[in-house]
């Protein structure tokens, strides 16, 4: 049985024919749409490497069925920069050495963008660490990740205030 679904990925509408209902959102992105920036780590919802935003919220794309996400709006790591201009979270990860091998980084960055949008942590590093606990980094770059998220959050909050002033 085939399923026709339509998802908007990074602002572009994609119509996909699924020949199998088992395809996860992660496999849809990587295998069908060639968006391999989103990583498959554990594939069981334990590591966060597959984090993307669905309708503005960070979720694990490995535990989401593509067929159930017909009509969804998905943002992946490929869609966060504007041309050569990095997203503030990307820039902060570089500035603070928030990575070593880089495998978990797309998930970390998407999770951080979601975290800032959720607006629950303020500038408390303990709350940031807790809110990022769904993203594992086996290189142990956590100290830099926390600093990067705090700095990016501050710069985004400030620029939003300027915009609304």
């Amino acid at each position: 049985m085939n399923f026709s679904i339509s998802v908007t990925v990074n602002g572009v509408r994609r119509d996909v024919e699924l020949d199998d209902p088992r395809v996860t959102l992660l496999d849809l992105l990587r295998e069908r749409l060639d968006l391999t920036g989103t990583k498959k780590g554990c594939d069981r919802g334990q590591c966060g490497a597959c984090t993307v935003l669905v309708d503005g919220r960070r979720v694990n794309s490995c535990l989401a069925l593509a067929v159930s996400h017909d009509g969804a709006n998905v943002l992946t790591i490929e869609g966060v920069s504007r041309g050569d201009q990095l997203h503030p979270v990307q820039a902060a990860f570089i500035a603070h050495d928030g990575l070593q091998c880089g495998f978990c980084t797309p998930g970390q960055i998407m999770s951080a963008i979601g975290l800032i949008e959720e607006a629950q942590t303020g500038d408390d590093p303990e709350r940031v660490r807790e809110a990022m606990s769904g993203n594992l980094c086996r290189c142990g770059a956590y100290a830099g990740i926390t600093e990067a998220v705090l700095e990016a959050r501050q710069s985004l909050v400030t620029s939003n205030q300027r915009r609304s002033a």
């Binding site: 209902p21 966060g48 984090t51 069925l65 159930s68 999770s111 807790e130 606990s133 769904g134």
Partner: protein, 352 residues
């Protein structure tokens, strides 16, 4: 993962009809079910996707002062709802201590209630497990059993229910509304999950096709807002299931406990309400002695199911600590590390 038929019904009654088929399962977010299917632990022949059913994603304040929470409300949305977090702080803290931000953004109320045990032998399809394969035996009995049940277990199964959310809910007399083939009915959350006995594969009283459509909290549940806490012992700082947990909610007037609500998590195959301990606190002053007596009463029937005798003493201590913190008052804001036994009012340190 086995292949399956995928159905996305437009109405609740169509969903119930479709899910009453042998081998059918409901799919909401799938954060637990897809994991189980990938591991070969669950292999439904049909998935009935309920995510588009209308009217199941609302939180409604009822005329009688109660609260009705649709089954598709996401864990994160409920926990961050300001009225909810203020009125039922122990429930909000329990929600925020579970899983990760990504999973809480997806996972639903109904799915949380019906999540399966995290027993490693249930998850390992090479192991004997009476819950996964009735009659095959229980490798946990002679295996790594330190995290297993100390209450309500049987020779057939010593698994625990992993939900944090359910623990304060069961103490607050939460009700579940169920739509089934014979229409709508409701039942106390406390009666939803079954103890294993000889049939650990039967985890709830739900019949084929039964759909939990809503969770309801009675008006009285708001009375504990000033003294409500949930504490959870984990083997790592965050993003881990409970070794065990406790919810304590008190109604204190003029220095006397008028009413107490207590429940334990991670100790049995269901969220474990402890009424004798609650009753021992009614009319008492909130003192360490009263809390210790309540903890003794709560664990009076506990016995180890394996290499987990330590959990009985740990449960008593965590109950005393939860009662102590609840008596001190609900913090203005949920601590940075929700439900951490190491937290202080201003926030939890990750390295305690």
């Amino acid at each position: 993962m086995n292949n399956f038929e995928y159905i996305r019904p437009a109405t609740i009654s169509d969903a119930v009809t479709a899910a009453a088929w042998p081998g059918a399962a409901y799919l909401a977010s799938g954060t637990n079910l897809l994991d189980l299917m990938k591991g070969g632990i669950a292999s439904p022949s049909r998935l009935v996707d309920i995510t588009r059913l209308p009217g199941l994603d609302r939180v409604e304040r009822l005329a009688d002062g109660g609260l009705r929470i649709g089954t598709l409300v996401r864990n994160a949305d409920l926990a961050h709802d300001p009225d909810f977090a203020t009125s039922y702080p122990a429930v909000a803290e329990a929600l925020l201590s579970g899983a990760s931000a990504q999973l809480r953004n997806a996972a639903t109320v109904g799915g949380n209630l019906l999540q399966r045990t995290r027993c490693g032998y249930f998850y390992d399809i090479a192991s004997a497990c009476n819950k996964r394969k009735p009659g095959s035996g229980c490798d946990a009995r002679d295996g790594e059993s330190r995290l297993h049940a100390v209450l309500g277990w049987s020779e057939a199964c010593i698994a625990t229910h992993p939900s944090d959310f359910c623990v304060p809910l069961v103490a607050l007399d939460a009700m579940v509304e169920i739509e089934g083939r014979a229409g709508r009915r409701e039942l106390a959350l406390e009666s939803l999950h079954r103890l294993p006995g000889e049939t650990p594969e039967q985890e709830s009283v739900l019949e084929p096709g039964d759909l939990i459509v809503a969770l309801r909290l009675p008006a009285e549940a708001r009375a504990f807002a000033l003294h409500g806490r949930y504490l959870k012992v984990r083997e790592r700082t965050s993003y881990a299931f409970a070794v065990l947990s406790a919810a304590a909610m008190l109604r204190i007037e003029h220095g006397t406990i008028k009413e107490a609500r207590l429940a334990l998590g991670g100790v049995a195959a269901k969220p474990w309400r402890t009424r004798t301990a609650e009753e021992s606190l009614a009319g008492a002053s909130p003192t360490p002695g009263a809390f210790h007596r309540a903890a003794q009463a709560a664990l009076a029937d506990a016995r180890p199911s394996g290499n987990n005798l330590f959990k009985i003493e740990l449960a008593k201590r965590i109950l005393v600590r939860t009662l102590t913190l609840a008596a001190a008052g609900t913090p203005d804001r949920i601590p940075a590390l929700p439900a951490s036994p190491f937290s202080v009012a201003t926030g939890a340190l990750h390295v305690a």
